[in-house]
Symmetry: C2
Subunit: 323 residues, 2 copies
DNA sequence: AAGATTGCTGACATCGTTGTCCATCGGGGA
DNA sequence: TCCCCGATGGACAACGATGTCAGCAATCTT
């Protein structure tokens, strides 16, 4: 009898014990499918992401799993080749998976079609670091523009003027947000952000290496490079080493994210710390709270922080603040 | 009517079309719970692992997901704090998740209680890189001993004799297997593997840093260190840098796995390539084949390969082959 | 042309829970 | 002592698919 297992009232202890004994004797386990069928609950939560850097995915997943620890929800991982190419398929996939809810990582968290279709399909969602339509669903919010402004200002304050930029995947709203943050810092310092010194690296190590190579092979080589995430920054460092440059003296490199690689490489990478883990935890907790009908906040704000390490120094030809 | 959706024979085209139109009109989607209930299939596959290095998990997951791409199975990730402490709970967890099958990563793939209970619970499993009871279930097999022997032999051939060892988590059978491979190489070279130069690093970066620190703070400092995975090797490199040693001249370091970090660090790390991705793909394919009733191999063998890069050179005081 | 055979379709039991409804039992108040 | 009410436990429909079975129509055989 189901009342025993669900700890309902109006059941005597004697019956409780008797049922439990019988269950143990028969090696009984409740059938999850039947429960799900009648309760319309799968207790499955999806995590949708598009192959960004490995460390980002890992932190994201660890955050979600951490938040799910005390709950009876389980995590299904749903990597998507290209969110923009497959927006319709994605929601079909999610519906077919019978999820109770999904955590959306960028760039899915910013995709209007996905958001609209999820709402239409009645699947609850929580969004990690969205930049548009912030009112839709639960979300964890962070100011990419401010973080980017801070790291660019740091390089400018060191005296760099010839600064190359390695942009992330154009499909991520964060790419433009960070670029605009860089731009603000340039304007504040009274100098120009040269468009022909912007290369795209797609947030991957290889992309960063290639973008770095293009920037470093120019006749007018930059003295510093701003990469929009740490993987690409490491790629830039590899490209610099291949060209015999010594780091950080010949080239300053700054990243974004504070992912594990930023602490591993030598010199240690100057970067902007993004609390991906915390954001994943917060998003998951909001999602679960909603699914369980508990009241709670619908948004959480997170701060990023400039971490000045060893990969950024003043350019050779100029002292700090000089130009 | 279900016959239309399952593409069964004996249905006329007219009815097929009529049903499809009605389904579209009503925005009909089959109920996964009801299907699962009557078919006794969840189409969920679990991946059980214990927080080893991040890159290992990522490669593992990517492999499983890759193998699942064409299939209608979905992946549930099940990280376990400590397999040895929670062996009984683990299977309870898996049963509660209504999984069709699980892919077991080390050390769960070598845990007799887990294997026995899975068999008892009727949950199919595929094992990645097991070292014991190889006949149980489907498995992907690799010769850890040979890989370890090769990398140790490489250091010995370079002329190193004072070689420290950073061991992995004692709970992983691979730790002992790799140690015994090292031992074979030492014996073949006619020298002794000093037990007091073995430190444990638990397969983590931090563990590697601490173990490296202990080895490098000795009065009789080793000229080379063998780490049982790349994360620990990087940790050793960080400890060496903190002590002002220059790499690789003052200290040769070799890792194991060929994880992404091994290519990122400077100097690039000598290591043993383990095809984790391929093993995950193979294990998953075998599992799915079994679940689908397709015939197929129950075991796949994989090779590892010594990758000599920049982190290992002859010791200062001796030429190659010298002693 | 009538019976046999095959193709197609609708009806219905089934899977294992949940939750509602109803019958029963026991105790306390009138 | 009788009645009423709350506590308790059993019976049963519902969830939404699947798959079997039986019935009917159409075609083939003789």
């Amino acid at each position: 009898m189901s009342r025993v297992f669900n700890d309902e009232p109006h059941v005597s202890d004697a019956v409780k014990r008797r049922v439990r004994e019988a269950a143990d004797a028969l090696n009984y386990h409740p059938n999850v499918f039947a429960q799900s069928l009648v309760r319309r609950r799968s207790h499955l939560i999806g995590l949708v992401y598009e192959k960004p850097s490995a460390s980002y995915v890992v932190e994201l997943q660890m955050g979600v799993l951490d938040a799910l620890l005390g709950e009876r929800y389980r995590l299904i991982v749903i990597p998507v080749r290209s969110v923009h190419d497959n927006a319709h398929d994605v929601v079909g996939l999610l519906r077919a998976a019978a999820l109770d809810g999904v955590v959306l990582a960028p760039p899915a968290s910013d995709h209007p079609v996905i958001l609209a279709q999820l709402a239409a399909a009645g699947i609850r969602f929580a969004r990690v670091a969205p930049l548009r339509q912030l009112e839709l669903g639960a979300s964890t919010i962070i100011d990419d523009v401010a973080g980017a402004r801070a790291v660019a200002a740091h390089l400018l304050a060191l005296g760099h003027r010839d600064i190359g930029i390695v942009k992330g995947d154009p499909g991520h709203a964060a790419s433009d947000a960070r670029l605009s943050g860089y731009g603000q810092a340039f304007r504040a310092a009274g100098c120009e952000m040269r468009l022909d010194w912007i290369e795209t690296g797609n947030f991957t190590l290889e992309g960063g290496t290639e973008a770095g190579a293009r920037l470093l092979d120019r006749a007018d080589r930059p003295t510093a490079i701003l990469a929009q995430n740490d993987e690409m920054a490491v790629g830039v460092m590899m490209a610099a080493r291949e060209r015999g440059l010594s780091l950080p003296d010949d080239l300053s490199v700054a990243g974004f994210d504070d992912s594990e690689v930023s602490r591993i490489v030598w010199p240690r990478l100057t970067t902007v710390r993004q609390p991906v883990f915390d954001m994943a935890v917060a998003a998951t907790e909001m999602l679960v709270a909603e699914l369980e009908g508990r009241p709670g906040a619908r948004h959480s704000h997170h701060d990023n922080q400039l971490l000045i390490r060893d990969s950024t120094v003043a350019p050779r030809s100029a002292g700090p603040g000089g130009a």
